[in-house]
C-alpha cells in the first residue's frame, strides 16, 4: 500500500467481473493517484471470468483468469478475498467486514452482483441439487457427479437434469456433458433461450442441442423433486403434466436475484424487482455510494449481462475522476457458443417494434436459423437472431439502427459465398466491441493515428476484443481495410536480405531444391550488392537447411550460419563459457551413466544442476574443453542433448505403469520412443514434450508443445502448451489414440509446424495463426484437408532415418574439431578473464564486486585430471 496521504479511499464491495473492470479502468486513468481502492470479495479468489465458467473443467482456474494479474499487485490497489462486507454505515462512511474490521471510505461502490435464484419447488434442498454461479458451485457439481459415477457399476451413466433453458441453463447442460453425465434441459417457456431468441430460433437451437446428446423438454413445469428411497439424494423430477424423470443430479438455472441486501439495510432505495436504484451516472440516492453491474437497478431494471456492467464501471470511474459520463443504455446483444453451437442475437430480436418486418433464412437440415428484424420499409436494421451460424452477426450488429446498403436485406443472411451481400462500411460511431465499448472509429484511429499495424497492436491500444473476443473477425477486417487504405503494407520480411517470411522461405528452398546459403541468397535474397546475410537470416536459413536434411550443421558453408550455441554445440552462458547437456531420453539414466556424468563434471570443475527437462546440465565448460568433455561422454554412450538448438529438447515423463500404482500406460517407454524419434529435429523454436502415465499428469505434459496423457484406452494428445513468460496450457487435439496413431499424429503436427511457423514462433501462437486455429490444424493433419499428409510423413521418415549424433560426428572430424580453440594463436589457453568463487560446494562465476574485492577462489585454470 502506498502512503495514501492526499488520496481518497474508494471501497468496492464485491469481487466479480465488473469490480475487476472498475479497478482496471480506474488504474488506467487515475495517473495522479487520486484514489486508493480496496476491493472486498466474498469468494476466496481474485475476480474471474464467470461467463466462461464451463471452461474451468477443461483449463482449470487459469482458463478463466481475467485481465492482468499484476493489477492486484498495484500499490494503489488492495484486494481482500474471502472477506464479505456485513454492513454499511452511511453516517460514519464506513463498512464492516465479516471479521468485524471497520473500514472508512470516501466513495463506495456496490458491485455485489447476483445470486442464483432457487424457485420454491418442493425438494429443492435435497442433496444433489445445485445452482451454477461460482467456481465453488462448479467444483461441488463435479465432485458430486464423480462420486455418483464411482458408486455405479462400470458403464452406467450419471443422469443429470437442468431446470431452466436460458443461457445459464444451456451452459450448465454443457458442463454436465463435459463431466460425461447425461443432461436433459427442462424449460418452462415455449423454447430455449426465450429472452434472446424467437420461437423459430429456439426450435433450431433445440435440434442442434439434441444433436449434442442433450435432451430438451419445453413447456414443462417441475412440480417437485423427490428423494431416492435408499440414499435420500435427489432421485426423480415430477412434472406438472404428469411426466417423470429419474435423475442423479439437478442443476437449477432459472434466473438470478440481485444481491441488494446491503443496500436495503443501509436504507437505500431498491427497485420493484430488487437492485439498488441508481441514476444514469450510476449513483444511488447517497452521493457517495454508487452501484454497478447486476446489483444496479438502472432505468428501472437490473441487467444480467457483463457488457452493460462494464459500461457502468467505466461511467463510475469517469465520474469519480470528475467526468460527466452517463450510462448510454444497455446493449443486450449476445453472442456465445453453447456446447459448440453458435447463438447470437441483438436489438429487437422478437420484432416487438410496431410494423417491424422479419426476414428469415432457415435450413433445418444444416441446423441454421437466421433472422433480421427491419423497419416497415425493410431498410433500417432493428435486430437479429442467429442460431447455428453466427457469421453475419459481427458485421451486422454494429449497423443496428442504421440503413442497410443494397436492395435485398436477405442477401446478408445467405451462406457465405452464396449471395454477394454488399460490403458493409461501418459508420465511425458504430459500436464494434460491446464488452469494452470500442467504436469502429476508435479502431480506425488506432491504425491511422497510433500507428498500430496488426490486430494484437489494436487490441492493446483500444482493448477491443480483449474480453469475449466475439468481435475479433470484424476488428481484423477493419484493421486490414484501414491499413490498405493508408497504403501500409504489412511486412513479413525476415530482414533486409530477404523479403520473405520464414514459412515462404522454407517452401521456396524446398521447392527450388537449394542446399546452401550462397545459392539461397543469390536466388531469393534482395538484390543488394554485398548482402551476405546477417544475424537474423543466417540462423533462419541454417534451421531451414537442417530441417530439410542437409548433413551436419558444421559442414562447409552451413557452419558460417550457426548461432554460437549451434556452432559450439553447447549453451553459451553469461561469462562466455558453455554448458553441456547429454541426452537422457525420457529422463531415464543408468547408475553407470550418472557416475560418468558426475566424474566428468568433477574432473573438469563443472557446476552441475538438474534441469526442468529431467536431465543434467554441466556449466562452466570452456570452448577448448568441449571436445575433451564430449569424448568422455560419447565413449560412455551419451549423445548430444540438443539443449543448444532450436530443436527438440526433452520428452519429460512420469514413471508410469511400470512402477506407479496409478499409471495406466508405460509413459517412460513412450517418452523414450518419442525422444529418440524426434531428437535432432530442427524447428522454428525449441520444442518440448511430456508424457504422463495417467490423468494425474505428474509429467506436466500440458505445459509442453506436445503433451501426451495416458488413458485406459490409449493416449490423449494435447498441443500448444508452453511455460515461459506467457504460459499456455496445451489443448486437446485427439483422444484415445493407439501408439501408432499417436506417432503419426505427432509426426505430422511437428512437420507442419516446422514448415509453416514464423521465425522464433512457438507452437501456441503458431496454432492461433493457422487458418481455423486448432480446428484448422486438426483438419490438416488428421483429415488431410490440404492433401499434404503423405509428404509430411515422408519428411519425418527421412529425419528419423538420417539422424546422427552431432557430437560424435565432430569428434571424428579434425577439421570440425579445429573450431574448438580458445585463441587462434594459443588454441589451448584458457580465457584469462574468467574468475570463480565457491558457493554451496560448487563454483560459480564471480560477480563484479567479488572480483574487485579479491575473494575470487579460482581463475579459469583448474587442475584437470588428464
Amino acid at each position: 500500500m502506498v502512503n495514501s496521504g492526499g488520496s481518497q479511499h474508494l471501497v468496492v464491495i464485491g469481487g466479480g467481473m465488473v469490480a475487476q473492470r472498475l479497478v482496471e479502468a480506474l488504474r488506467a486513468r487515475d495517473d495522479a493517484g487520486r484514489y486508493h481502492v480496496t476491493v472486498f470479495a466474498e469468494e476466496p479468489r481474485a475476480p474471474y471470468d464467470r461467463v466462461g465458467l464451463t471452461r474451468w473443467f477443461e483449463d482449470g482456474p487459469e482458463g478463466i483468469a481475467l485481465g492482468d494479474p499484476a493489477l492486484w499487485a498495484d500499490p494503489y490497489v488492495t484486494l481482500h478475498t474471502d472477506r464479505k462486507i456485513e454492513s454499511i454505515d452511511r453516517e460514519a462512511k464506513t463498512v464492516t467486514d465479516r471479521l468485524g474490521h471497520v473500514h472508512a471510505y470516501d466513495e463506495l461502490v456496490l458491485a455485489t452482483g447476483s445470486s442464483a435464484a432457487m424457485p420454491p419447488i418442493p425438494g429443492n434442498d435435497l442433496p444433489g441439487v445445485f445452482v451454477y454461479r461460482t467456481i465453488d458451485d462448479v467444483a461441488a457439481l463435479r465432485g458430486w457427479v464423480e462420486q455418483k459415477r464411482k458408486s455405479y457399476p462400470e458403464g452406467k451413466p450419471v443422469r443429470g437434469a437442468v431446470i431452466g433453458g436460458g443461457l445459464l441453463g444451456l451452459e450448465a447442460a454443457g458442463a454436465l456433458t463435459a463431466l460425461d453425465a447425461q443432461a436433459t434441459v427442462i424449460e418452462f417457456g415455449t423454447h430455449l433461450m426465450g429472452v434472446q431468441v424467437d420461437l423459430g430460433g429456439g426450435q433450431a437451437l433445440k435440434r442442434l442441442i439434441n444433436g449434442k446428446g442433450i435432451g430438451v423438454r419445453a413447456e414443462t413445469a417441475t412440480s417437485q423433486m423427490k428423494p431416492h428411497r435408499r440414499t435420500g439424494h435427489v432421485g426423480r423430477l415430477d412434472f406438472a403434466d404428469g411426466g417423470r424423470l429419474d435423475v442423479d443430479v439437478v442443476v437449477v438455472a432459472t434466473g438470478v436475484r440481485p444481491r441488494d441486501e446491503l443496500a436495503r439495510a443501509a436504507g437505500l432505495p431498491v427497485g420493484e424487482r430488487g437492485g439498488a436504484v441508481v441514476d444514469l451516472s450510476c449513483r444511488t440516492e447517497d452521493p457517495h455510494i454508487w452501484a454497478v453491474g447486476e446489483v444496479a437497478c438502472i432505468e428501472g431494471r437490473c441487467i444480467g449481462l457483463v457488457a452493460p456492467g462494464n459500461t457502468m464501471a467505466e461511467v463510475v470511474v469517469d465520474r469519480l475522476l470528475g467526468g460527466l459520463a452517463e450510462f448510454p443504455g444497455a446493449d443486450t446483444a449476445t453472442k456465445l457458443k453453447l456446447s459448440g453451437v453458435d447463438v447470437a442475437s441483438f436489438g429487437d430480436a422478437h420484432a416487438r417494434t410496431e410494423d417491424a418486418v422479419e426476414v428469415v433464412w432457415a435450413d433445418p437440415v444444416a441446423g441454421v436459423y437466421k433472422k433480421l428484424v427491419l423497419s416497415d420499409d425493410a431498410r433500417t436494421l432493428l435486430g437479429g437472431v442467429f442460431v447455428g451460424d453466427a457469421g453475419p452477426y459481427a458485421s451486422l450488429r454494429p449497423m443496428l439502427g442504421a440503413e442497410l446498403p443494397g436492395d435485398d436485406p436477405s442477401a446478408f443472411l445467405l451462406p457465405e459465398g452464396g449471395g454477394g451481400a454488399p460490403n458493409l462500411e461501418l459508420p465511425d460511431e458504430a459500436n464494434v466491441c460491446s464488452c469494452n465499448n470500442v467504436s469502429a472509429g476508435a479502431i480506425r484511429g488506432a491504425v491511422t493515428e497510433h500507428q498500430c499495424t496488426d490486430v494484437p497492436g489494436v487490441k492493446a491500444c483500444t482493448r477491443a476484443g480483449t474480453t469475449c473476443g466475439a468481435c475479433l473477425p470484424l476488428v481484423k477486417k477493419l484493421v486490414d481495410t484501414e491499413l490498405e487504405r493508408a497504403g501500409i503494407e504489412v511486412s513479413t520480411a525476415l530482414c533486409e536480405h530477404f523479403d520473405m517470411s520464414r514459412a515462404q522461405l522454407f517452401d521456396a528452398v524446398r521447392v527450388a531444391d537449394l542446399h546452401s546459403f550462397s545459392d539461397i541468397v543469390a536466388r531469393f535474397g534482395t538484390p543488394v550488392v554485398g548482402s551476405r546475410g546477417c544475424d537474423i537470416c543466417k540462423p533462419v536459413v541454417a534451421s531451414v537447411l537442417a530441417s530439410l536434411g542437409n548433413g551436419h550443421i558444421l559442414a562447409g558453408e552451413q557452419s558460417t550460419l550457426q548461432d554460437t550455441n549451434d556452432h559450439m554445440l553447447a549453451n553459451l552462458q553469461k561469462d562466455g563459457t558453455y554448458s553441456v547437456v547429454p541426452r537422457m531420453p525420457g529422463g531415464e539414466v543408468t547408475p553407470e551413466g550418472l557416475i560418468v556424468v558426475g566424474q566428468v563434471a568433477k574432473d573438469f570443475g563443472l557446476y552441475t544442476k538438474i534441469t526442468g527437462g529431467q536431465r543434467i546440465d554441466m556449466f562452466g565448460a570452456r570452448v577448448e574443453q568441449l571436445p575433451d568433455i564430449w569424448r568422455r561422454l560419447v565413449d560412455a554412450g551419451f549423445e548430444s542433448g540438443h539443449a543448444y538448438g532450436k530443436s527438440l529438447r526433452t520428452v519429460k515423463s512420469c514413471v508410469g505403469s511400470t512402477w506407479c500404482r496409478y499409471g495406466v500406460q508405460d509413459s517412460v517407454g513412450m517418452a523414450v520412443e518419442l525422444e529418440l524419434r524426434y531428437r535432432g529435429l530442427r524447428s522454428p523454436h525449441k520444442l518440448k514434450m511430456g508424457v504422463s502415465g495417467c490423468a494425474r499428469e505428474c509429467a506436466e505434459a500440458r505445459g509442453k508443445d506436445v503433451g501426451v496423457i495416458a488413458t485406459d484406452k490409449g493416449w490423449n494428445i494435447y498441443v500448444g502448451g508452453n511455460g515461459g513468460q506467457t504460459p499456455r496450457h496445451a489443448k486437446l487435439l485427439a483422444e484415445d489414440l493407439t501408439s501408432e496413431e499417436l506417432l503419426r499424429t505427432i509426426d505430422r503436427f511437428l512437420m507442419y509446424y516446422v514448415r509453416t511457423a514464423d521465425r522464433l514462433q512457438r507452437t501456441a501462437p503458431w496454432i492461433e495463426e493457422v487458418d481455423g486455429g486448432l480446428e484448422g490444424v486438426r483438419e490438416v493433419i488428421m483429415e488431410d484437408s490440404l492433401g499434404i499428409c503423405a509428404d509430411l510423413d515422408a519428411a519425418m521418415a527421412r529425419h528419423v532415418e538420417n539422424y546422427e549424433d552431432e557430437w560424435k560426428a565432430v569428434l571424428e572430424d579434425p577439421e570440425k574439431l579445429r573450431r574448438f580453440s580458445s585463441f587462434v594463436n594459443a588454441p589451448k589457453d584458457a580465457d584469462p578473464s574468467l574468475a570463480y568463487v565457491e558457493e554451496r560446494g560448487q563454483r560459480r562465476p564471480a560477480t563484479a564486486e567479488e572480483r574487485a574485492s579479491g575473494v575470487v577462489i579460482a581463475g579459469p585454470k583448474l587442475e584437470v585430471r588428464a
Binding site: E496, V529, G533, G576, V824, D831
Partner: protein, 144 residues
Amino acid sequence: MSSDDVSEAQAPGTTLVSDGPVRWERACLLTDLFPERGAAALFGDVQVALFRLAEDPADPVQAGQVYAVQNLDPFSGAHVMSRGIVGTRAGVPTVAAPVYKQVFSLLTGECLVAADKTPKGDLPADLVTYPVEIRDGVVHVGLP
C-alpha cells in the same frame, strides 16, 4: 593448403584509424581463419576478435578482408565477440554479439543496434577496432 595458395589469398592491405604509434603483432596464418566467422587472438592480456569475410565476386571492396575489434562484449562483459555471427547492414560488414545480439560495425566498431540494452558497468557501447595487415599470408594486428 600450400604456401602458394596462401599468397594468392592475400588481401589488399587495410589500415584503420589509430592514434599514436602501432606495435604490429603476428596473429595467425590467414588460412587459420574460417571465412565468414570470427576467431579470438590473445596478445598478453589483450583479447582481439578477428573476422575474415567470405570471398564475394559481387563485392570486391570488403570481400575476403580481415577485420579486428575488441573481443570484450560491452553488453555482457564476457570476451565473446569473436563468436558472433557476421553479416551486413546496409552494406556495412557487421558482427552480432552472441550474448544479447547487439550489432556492431566491423569498420568502425560503432554499435548499430543496441537491442534495448545498455552496456555493462561503465563500458563504452562501441568497440575498439585494430588495424590489420596481411603480410605473406600472415595476419598481423596493430596494437596501440
